[in-house]
C-alpha cells in the first residue's frame, strides 16, 4: 500500500456520523486564484480544518506523450517547452540528454557549458518566481511576486536574445545547442548574474525573517525524511526534508562535476524549509553561473548528430535536476525515426502525490500554501 492510502488524517479522526453532519465539501478550483492553473482540490472541511482532500487534475491534458509517439524525435523538442512552461531550457535539456543516450552523440564542450548557463538561469527564473507565488499564496498582495517578475524579465530578455523566444525557447538540440551566443550576450549575462545576489539580499530581508511568514510556513505541511523518500519526492521538496539528493551531484550529467557548488539541506521538511532551500539554491546557482561564464571555452556548438535521427532499437532514460525536481524522459526506440514509447517523468506530478498527506489536519489556508510550496506547473502535471 502506498502511504497515501494508509496514512490517517493527522490530528483528526473521522467518525461516520461526523462525515454526514458538519462536513463542508468545497471544490477548490479549477477556477481559483491560487491553484496555480487549472487544478482542483476537493476539500472536506470541518470548520476550517481539512479532513480530506482529493486532488483532481487533467484539465490541461494535451496528449503530449502520445503525440510524441506519432512524430519524429526532433519534432518533439518544441513540445517539451510546453511541459513546464516556466523552465523551457531544462525541459529541452532533459529530452536532449535522453535522446543523446539513445544514439550516443558526443556533445561539444562549449555546448555543455551553454547548457549549464541556460539551465542555471532557468533555475533562477523558476525559484524566484515560485517564491513570489508562494508568498502570494500566503496572502501578500503581490509585492514579492512583482519583485521576482522584475528580475525574471531580465533573464527572459537574455533568453529572447539567445533563442528568439522568452519562454518557449526550443534552444537545445540533440548533440548541442541550436545557435551560438550573439555578440555581447555573455557580458550582459555576467552583469545580470553579478547583480543577482543583491536582489537575493533584498528578497531575503523582505521575507525570511518576517514573523508572519515564519508563523505561517513553519511546521506546516511537514514531510519527514522517510516519508519524502517513500513518496519518491525529488528536487527542493526532497532536500527540504533533509535528504541529500541532487542529480547534479548524483549523476554528474553534463559537466556538473567541474563546478564547485553545494546543496542546501533543510532539517524539518515544512513549507518554510522548502522556501528557504530554494532561496539558498539560487545562491548556489549564481555560483555555478559565475564559474561557467568564466570557463566558457571556444569551439563547436553542435556535435556530430545524424541528419535523420534514427536510433537503433533500444531504450534510454535521461534525467536532469530540473528546478522542480527530477525531470526524466524515457524513450524506447524500435529502429524507426519515431519513438515507440515516449514517457515523461515530471517532477511536479510526482511531488504532488504528497499533497493529501501534507494537508490533512491543517487549515484551508495551509492547504493553499502547501500546494504553493510543492511548486507545480499544470502543463507538466497534466501533460
Amino acid at each position: 500500500m502506498s502511504p497515501v492510502q494508509t496514512m490517517p488524517p493527522r490530528g483528526y479522526h473521522l467518525s461516520k456520523d461526523e462525515l454526514g453532519a458538519d462536513i463542508l465539501e468545497v471544490a477548490m478550483g479549477p477556477h481559483h486564484p491560487s491553484t496555480h492553473g487549472v487544478f482542483r482540490m476537493d476539500l472536506k472541511l470541518d470548520g476550517e480544518t481539512v479532513v480530506d482532500l482529493k486532488p483532481v487534475f487533467g484539465y490541461l491534458h494535451r496528449n503530449h506523450e502520445k503525440i510524441a509517439e506519432d512524430i519524429s524525435y526532433p519534432m518533439s523538442m518544441p513540445f517539451t517547452d510546453r511541459l513546464d512552461y516556466l523552465c523551457g531550457m531544462t525541459n529541452n535539456w532533459a529530452y536532449a540528454l535522453s535522446a543523446e543516450k539513445l544514439i550516443e552523440i558526443e556533445v561539444p564542450e562549449r555546448a555543455e557549458y551553454l547548457r549549464v548557463i541556460v539551465g542555471e538561469l532557468t533555475r533562477l527564473v523558476n525559484h524566484c518566481l515560485l517564491i513570489g507565488f508562494f508568498i502570494n499564496d500566503l496572502g501578500a498582495l503581490g509585492t514579492p511576486l512583482l519583485y521576482a517578475l522584475r528580475e525574471r524579465e531580465k533573464i527572459l530578455d537574455l533568453f529572447e536574445v539567445l533563442s528568439g523566444a522568452r519562454m518557449m525557447v526550443n534552444y537545445i538540440r540533440f548533440g548541442g545547442v541550436r545557435c551560438d551566443l550573439p555578440e555581447g550576450w555573455l557580458g550582459e549575462c555576467q552583469r545580470i548574474v553579478d547583480a543577482f545576489p543583491a536582489f537575493l539580499d533584498e528578497y531575503e530581508t523582505l521575507l525570511t525573517e518576517n514573523e508572519i511568514i515564519i508563523a505561517r510556513a513553519q511546521n506546516v505541511g511537514v514531510v519527514t525524511r522517510e516519508e519524502a523518500i517513500d513518496f519518491s519526492l525529488t528536487g527542493p521538496m526532497l532536500r527540504a526534508s533533509g535528504v541529500n539528493y541532487d542529480i547534479r551531484k548524483v549523476d554528474r550529467y553534463g559537466i556538473y562535476d567541474r563546478f564547485d557548488f553545494k546543496i542546501p539541506i533543510g532539517g524539518h521538511g515544512d513549507c518554510y524549509d522548502r522556501f528557504m532551500v530554494r532561496m539558498l539554491e539560487m545562491r548556489e546557482s549564481v555560483k555555478i553561473l559565475k564559474q561557467a561564464i568564466r570557463d566558457l571555452p571556444d569551439g563547436n556548438i553542435m556535435g556530430k548528430a545524424p541528419k535523420i535521427f534514427r536510433p537503433a532499437p533500444g531504450e534510454a532514460y535521461g534525467r536532469i535536476e530540473a528546478p522542480k525536481g527530477e525531470l526524466g524522459f524515457y524513450l524506447i526506440s524500435d529502429g524507426t525515426p519515431i519513438p515507440y514509447r515516449f514517457k515523461v517523468r515530471p517532477p511536479s506530478f510526482v511531488n504532488l502525490t504528497a499533497l493529501r498527506h501534507m494537508c490533512l489536519g491543517h487549515k484551508v489556508a495551509d492547504a493553499v500554501i502547501i500546494l504553493g510550496s510543492i511548486d507545480i506547473v499544470l502543463g507538466e502535471v497534466d501533460r
Binding site: I71, P74, P78, D81, V161, T205, I213
Partner: protein
C-alpha cells in the same frame, strides 16, 4: 515576536525603499507603457514564419521550391503546401498554395532549420490581432512573401550570412554547371546532339540572387 516585530519592520523598510526608488531609479520602474512605447525587439525574436523572395517580383523571385520539407517537419502541422503547375499541367518548382495557420503555429522555428533553400524565416512582428479568427489567422502565400530587404531590416547579421551562404552555394552550382557544360560540350564535340534534359542543376529554378543588389 516582541512588541515590535523586527522582521516585519525590516520588510517594511524594503518596501519603503522600493517605493521611493521607483521615482528616481529606472531599474525600479521597468514598466514599458505599451501602446505609446514599444519594448525593443531583438533581431532574434521569432514569432511566425514568412517566405523570402529575391528581386522585385514576389512570385518569380520566390525561393521556396515546394519541397514540403517544412510541412513534414512542422510539429503542429500548421503548414499546407500545394505545388504549382503551369498551363500544360507540368509541375513548376514553387508552391501554388502556401498557407500557415498562425492559430496553430507554435513558433518553434523547426521549419527554418529544415529548409535547404533558406526560403523560410521567422518574423518578429507581433501585433497580429485580427477580427476574423478563421481566415484572419490563416496567412496565405501572398501575405507570407516578404522581400529580402525586409529580412535585412529585420535581422541584418543573419540576413547577410544567409546571402553569403546562398552566394557560395550558387557559385558552387555555377562551377558544377560550367564543368558539366564543358563536359557536354566535349561530349557534343564527340556526338552531334547534347542530351538537353540532363542540363538541370539541383536548385534548378533558382535565379542567381545578387546579394550586393538586394542590400
Amino acid at each position: 515576536m516582541s512588541l515590535l516585530a523586527k522582521g516585519i519592520l525590516k520588510g517594511m523598510a524594503v518596501t519603503a525603499k522600493n517605493f521611493f526608488q521607483s521615482y528616481y531609479r529606472k531599474e525600479r520602474l521597468p514598466t514599458v507603457q505599451y501602446p505609446e512605447e514599444k519594448s525593443t525587439i531583438t533581431p532574434f525574436t521569432r514569432n511566425f514564419p514568412f517566405l523570402l523572395y529575391d528581386g522585385d517580383d514576389a512570385v518569380d523571385g520566390m525561393r521556396c521550391t515546394a519541397c514540403t520539407l517544412c510541412e513534414r517537419a512542422c510539429p503542429p502541422q500548421c503548414i499546407y503546401i500545394i505545388k504549382d503547375k503551369d498551363e500544360k499541367g507540368k509541375p513548376i518548382l514553387r508552391p501554388r498554395i502556401f498557407d500557415i495557420d498562425t492559430s496553430v503555429c507554435m513558433s518553434c522555428q523547426l521549419c527554418v532549420e529544415v529548409c535547404p533553400y533558406e526560403a523560410i524565416r521567422m518574423d518578429s512582428a507581433f501585433e497580429l490581432s485580427n477580427e476574423n479568427r478563421f481566415e484572419g489567422l490563416l496567412i496565405n502565400r501572398g501575405d507570407l512573401l516578404k522581400s529580402n530587404d525586409y529580412y535585412h531590416a529585420l535581422n541584418p547579421v543573419e540576413a547577410r550570412e544567409t546571402d553569403d551562404r546562398i552566394a557560395a552555394k550558387n557559385a558552387l552550382a555555377e562551377a558544377k554547371k560550367k564543368a558539366r557544360q564543358k563536359k557536354t560540350r566535349l561530349a557534343a564535340a564527340k556526338a552531334k546532339r547534347p542530351p538537353s534534359r540532363l542540363k538541370k542543376s539541383p536548385p534548378a529554378r533558382e535565379k542567381p540572387p545578387q546579394p550586393e543588389k538586394s542590400e
